[in-house]
Symmetry: C2
Subunit: 442 residues, 2 copies
């Protein structure tokens, strides 16, 4: 393998890497060396990784090259948000409280990835405890802008071609927002269908593991592994999809680039043969982002951080202390009313999805804001996280600063496979390869 | 305080202990000393505790006695199932894999108990990873019989007056079954309303923390603390309850003592003024215990034990290996169909509870089986755990071996307060103090 080809292995997708290694045309070590080189070249600026040891990564790669084929991710490097336990690397939660923390075991999702042959390339930067106090990570498209969060490092690493895919977690919008801001595909499965053992909780009644990649193929490949399934051929629709455009009550808060993205996508998809109609939003959905983020999010945060609050408060960020203080002010009655309201809305979605295969909704207010002190507004993603629906963002558009702006697709609970098929149909019609990740000439 | 009174402090309820200490009539140290003495006298036979250190318990008690009042559990000793993280005691999951495991923090529920002033008396024996391989614990009523599981030690310790209350967890029937077998009150809240951070998962989509005590007052007292609420006066009904008797499709598997308990309770409660009617069971509920235990339980167990399966398999019990092997045989489609079926049944419960305040259902097949090799059948409890409803068992009856047989009460999701009020109404009419725990003369 000559140096020229080798130097591009980090730009391959997970599916391509898996296929090439399976065919004996590439070694895992060569792939990891190129990812390591990319990280060496770029992570001084991007700061996607917080725990990265080239030797640990290369040792895993060489062991896989020596051994027999493990599974469908054999030799594929994966990044992991640093709220996910790993037995061979520290897991620090983006907090000084967990500095040097060494879990006794891999999280369930990590064990399943390794069982399938993945190389855990390293741990990616996270907001403190998957909250909102940002890590140092920058947006790989422009280091003056946030990459989004809380799965900041996972999105930046995938967008910057350091790793083909990474895991994150989403409680508000911690997978889809950084995916949108960094220009990659981000997927949050139906709640409680992917095991969370060994992952730090933020608000357990809505927390969901998600993953980020540069292709829908790769999203589906990781999905199969984490579902403990054999990968299947890509899901395809038999007929053009029925797409419901749901502007939500946050439409007026969206910047022009997001409005343009949704309207442009809807127009083009209609012309391409999809049935595209506006959704009549039931009143019960108004203000759902507040219930999701404040009522549920703060209350459960206050509960799950009880030990840190009582014993390690000075090591918490002002943002986290604020969350917990807000949580202490939410009454139990309001919390339970919030849970009931979400249940009510989930039931109403049955009627909505009787008429639509997928919803097209705004993902983010606009492109990634300037500055690294905050990771952007999760409200538009938080609605769907709280409703437990599967969602995906596709990197279809750009904003005025030439930064990515994704659209968001939503399917009915448990209908993740239909979401994949619709996403593929849509991407085939309005997507473009050069919208994914940073410009390769970089 | 003379020795005679002092020797009985372990028989007080949590509410009584809290009130006496708050009034300055008792020290926490005196209470803990009596609990320690009871454990010394009895735990050689009962084997309720797996990590118990009298010095750690007494140190906590003396610190509480020296300090200002912390909260509504000030000075109250509590036992914790050993799947719940504690920073000052090992947390061993009933498995050699976690021998000597020292968590970095208390679980959320433990932090909240300590914040309220509780003394963590010790860690109680659990089935391996809250599954089915039993610990050495015996039934305090008769050591030849199982105490039930997986919260075996919590039930035995409360029933034997070693501690007034304890936490457990329930995925199938791990709180209510041992409560029924040991003759105490056991309560499982509505799913996902009590934070699970720091508690080992079994099947996360149904796992729920529950608690066990010798009075409904104590169940409510712990509830307030774990909800981060100020305790309220006991919930009372304004009118006699509408009670639905739901025999379930497992009725024919029940032994006579369980059938007698349900029929006798229904008859007496009807005579006492309650509206008591049989529930017409929708077809969708048939076989729900199989979905709960096998489809959901085994599949999720296989996922959450992925690391142990790949790296520590020889340290797993044959029972656990069997669970995981069964889980690997369940297809993703069957798993998702199971989740959808549970959602469907939860929606149907809305109609059921339009007509009833509470359901009266069988809790266990009968009294605790003889032998310590298994902890009994969780099917009758598992239905309600999987439906996410709050449930409680009351120690109302006895079987042919003079062992306890509880009834099970079920309320609609989020209606835990109504469950308490109904339970209190029912207990006031058919309960008897000497049915709670072991005979005190023991």
């Amino acid at each position: 393998m000559d140096a020229k080809v080798s130097s591009a292995l980090n730009t391959l997708s997970a599916s391509e890497i898996a296929a090439e290694i399976a065919a004996g045309r590439m070694t895992c070590e060569a792939v990891v060396r190129d990812c390591v080189a990319r990280i060496a070249a770029r992570d001084g600026v991007v700061k996607a990784f917080v725990n990265f040891d080239a030797d640990i990564a290369l040792d895993q790669a060489r062991a896989l090259d020596r051994g027999s084929r493990r599974g469908p991710l054999h030799g594929v490097p994966i990044g992991l948000k640093d709220t996910i336990d790993t037995v061979d690397m520290p897991t620090e939660m983006g907090s000084p409280i967990y500095r040097g923390n060494r879990p006794r075991a891999d999280a369930s999702c990590v064990a399943l990835l390794r069982r399938a042959g993945a190389v855990i390339l390293g741990k990616t930067a996270t907001c403190e405890f998957a909250g909102s106090a940002p890590p140092e990570t920058t947006n790989p498209h422009n280091p003056a802008h946030t990459p989004g969060g809380s799965s900041s490092g996972s999105a930046a690493a995938v967008a910057d071609f350091m790793v083909p895919a990474a895991l994150g977690t989403q409680t508000g919008g911690s997978v889809l927002r950084p995916s949108s801001f960094c220009g990659v595909f981000g997927y949050k499965p139906t709640y409680n269908t992917i095991n969370k053992q060994g992952v730090w909780p933020a608000a357990d009644s809505i927390d969901t593991i998600g993953w980020l990649a540069r292709s829908i193929d790769d999203i589906e490949l990781l999905t199969a592994v984490l579902r403990m399934e054999t990968p299947r051929p890509p899901r395809k629709l038999e007929n053009a999809p029925r797409i419901g455009v749901w502007r939500t009550d946050l439409w007026d808060t969206a910047q022009d680039e997001t409005k343009v993205a949704i309207v442009d996508a809807a127009t083009k998809l209609g012309k391409a043969g999809a049935t595209v109609r506006d959704v009549d939003r039931p009143d019960a959905f108004t203000g759902l982002h507040v219930i999701a983020r404040s009522t549920i999010g703060f209350y459960e945060r206050a509960a799950c951080m009880a030990y840190a609050w009582d014993h390690q408060r000075q090591q918490l960020s002002p943002q986290m202390r604020g969350y917990i203080e807000n949580g202490h002010k939410i009454s139990r009655d309001d919390y339970v009313a919030g849970l009931r309201r979400l249940d009510e809305c989930r039931a109403l979605l049955g009627g909505v999805f009787a008429n639509f295969d997928v919803l097209l909704v705004p993902c983010v207010p606009g492109e990634a804001p300037k500055g690294l002190g905050a990771t952007g507004d999760p409200s538009m993603q938080a609605i769907w996280t709280a409703l437990h629906t599967p969602t995906m963002t596709l990197p279809t558009h750009r904003g005025p600063s030439d930064l990515p702006v994704g659209i968001q697709l939503v399917a009915q609970r448990y209908d993740d496979d239909r979401l994949f098929a619709c996403a593929r149909w849509i991407w085939d019609r309005i997507g473009a390869p050069d919208m994914v990740g940073v410009r390769r000439s970089r």
